[in-house]
């Protein structure tokens, strides 16, 4: 038994001061780490809130690319990717895909002809349980160079100040190189006719451990048929989903996965800057979309297409976007799963 002091000691203040100081410093350090003392820090919360339309986000839905439709299919690797990456997904063979065609809008009820950016999310699984997730869009470059600029773009486009966009473009001239594509009248009439680009640079790691900076694109096998937004509007607000459903029911749709390898000095940290067209490009396999399923209770419904979920053999580069996207997607996922009651599930109830 441990003996205790025989007689009470005189009161000393300094041990209490020490306790207060230790607890106080630890608590302040914790609060600082949590961002509570840094109102200017760009947090996932701010970034996701910046995506919301004036009336607030559509509860229960993804905070961006909210309108979409699920598919299942396969990725058939031809083995060519193995020279650049040791990821098992590039070993010749067939791997299942769960994916989602979508529109770049926070409004799940947007009309197809109102949304310029179309996207594709995929999740490829290999037999050892490794996953490769990617969320791509049809734009050839990203509108801005870094996440802060993306937040500034969201803020400027939501601003009532008539000079907001002018000021934004003055600070981010790279936006002007994106505009010609965004304003072009050359839309396609189908999700199946779109190319989908990673835009962000990643690193392929080969068997020797060497890292190769790359970007990738899914290039459609379907013939591109151009349509003006006005003509697309005439086909109905949900034409793209109806069209892809019928098209895939009639026959599987294919895309080639093209990997572009950077030359030394090519910008990897800036998805606003395209790489020159003569860069080495390798066809590493074919994605086949075999079945379309409605998103409600569909297999992609609860998947977060976080572009940083990568197999060993693919890693992020110095491109700042994948980290920012991962942080924001996680926030979006947490919000929408917590709002499950607001999501219009099918009357039959939860999927099995």
């Amino acid at each position: 038994m441990v003996p205790s002091p025989a007689s009470p000691k005189p009161f000393r203040l300094w041990p209490f001061v020490l306790i207060a100081a230790v607890v106080g410093i630890a608590a302040v350090g914790f609060a600082y780490t949590a961002g509570w003392l840094s109102p200017n820090r760009l947090t996932p919360k701010k970034l996701v809130a910046g995506l919301a339309p004036p009336g607030g986000p559509a509860l229960g839905h993804r905070r961006n690319h909210a309108k979409g439709i699920c598919f299942t299919g396969t990725f058939e690797a031809n083995g060519e990717g193995s020279s650049l990456s040791k990821a098992p997904v590039f070993v010749r063979g067939q791997y299942p895909i769960v994916g989602r065609f979508n529109l770049g809008t926070p409004n799940p009820n947007a009309e197809d002809a109102m949304v310029r950016v179309r996207g594709l999310g995929i999740l490829i699984t290999t037999p050892d349980g490794q996953e490769w997730r990617s969320a791509m869009i049809n734009a050839p470059i990203f509108p801005v160079s870094n996440p802060q600029a993306f937040y500034d773009l969201l803020t400027a486009s939501a601003s009532k100040d008539p000079d907001a966009m002018k000021n934004f473009i003055a600070a981010n001239p790279g936006f002007l190189t994106f505009l010609p594509w965004a304003k072009s009248d050359q839309w396609t009439e189908s999700y199946a006719e779109e190319p989908y680009n990673s835009l962000n640079s990643f690193l392929f790691v080969d068997e020797s451990g060497a890292k190769h900076p790359i970007r990738w694109s899914l290039i459609p096998a379907a013939q591109l048929v151009s349509i003006s937004p006005a003509d697309l509007a005439k086909r109905g607000p949900d034409y793209l989903e109806q069209e892809i459903t019928q098209r895939v029911a009639a026959g599987p749709q294919h895309w080639n996965l093209m990997v572009t390898v950077a030359n030394p000095g090519d910008p990897t940290a800036d998805p606003n800057k395209a790489w020159p067209a003569d860069r080495r490009t390798i066809n590493v396999g074919t994605m086949t979309v075999q079945q379309i399923e409605p998103e409600r209770d569909g297999p992609c419904r609860d998947i977060n297409f976080d572009p940083t979920v990568l197999p060993a053999g693919i890693t992020t580069s110095d491109d700042p976007f994948p980290a920012a996207r991962s942080a924001a997607y996680s926030r979006s996922y947490n919000s929408r799963t917590a709002e499950e009651a607001d999501y219009p599930r099918n009357a039959t109830g939860a999927r099995q």
């Binding site: 441990v2 041990p15 607890v23 947090t43 996932p44 060993a312």
Partner: protein, 186 residues
């Protein structure tokens, strides 16, 4: 379980201090990672998962050692409320140390995320994909983390109190190094 020993055994003290470092780091990593969009986010997430599993393993080892070796008895003159606080806080720490990593793992499973420890090493899913379960577990993970930090602050405050104000030997039961036996030094 108590014994007449005046200190925790060395195999108990080492994991205690190792875990003190791991858990404090873990809590700072946790609040830091959810509040940033910089590339630090990915680094912190990549540390958070394997470190969480390491804490789970260490906690189970500690629990086993605790069952084997027991704990030194509390000073006889310790007031009842403090005794109760001391004993219940130990239960709370064991529950949090084991529950937090399990909740995190289950939460990732319910969200269909792969639980990647490093490279191609990943853990199996322990729950089916389910938004309501994910929300429940995410909230538990979130709020328990703050409770955990608050408990650690109280724990530290209590230890300074025992050492500098009561000087009753409680701090020495877990103090690192080969400190001489407290009771013999009196």
């Amino acid at each position: 379980m108590t014994t007449s020993r005046t200190r925790f055994t060395a195999p108990q003290r080492l994991p205690h201090w190792l875990m003190a470092i791991c858990i404090l780091s873990m809590l700072f990593i946790g609040v830091g990672m959810v509040s940033t969009i910089t590339s630090k986010y990915l680094t912190l997430v990549q540390i958070h998962k394997p470190l969480g599993i390491a804490i789970l393993v260490l906690a189970l080892i500690r629990l086993t050692l605790r069952i084997i070796y027991g704990a030194p008895s509390l000073p006889a003159d310790l007031p009842e409320p403090i005794k109760l606080a001391a004993i219940s806080s130990q239960y709370i720490f064991y529950i949090l140390m084991i529950a937090m990593p399990l909740i995190g793992w289950a939460m990732l499973s319910a969200a269909a995320y792969p639980v990647v420890l490093f490279g191609s090493v990943h853990l199996p899913s322990i729950l089916p994909v389910n938004p309501s379960l994910h929300t429940l577990l995410w909230r538990a993970h979130h709020y328990l983390a703050f409770a955990f930090f608050a408990f650690i602050l109280m724990h530290v405050a209590a230890m300074i109190f025992h050492k500098l104000i009561r000087n009753d030997g409680i701090f020495e039961t877990m103090a690192p190094g080969s400190t001489h036996d407290y009771s013999e030094s009196k």
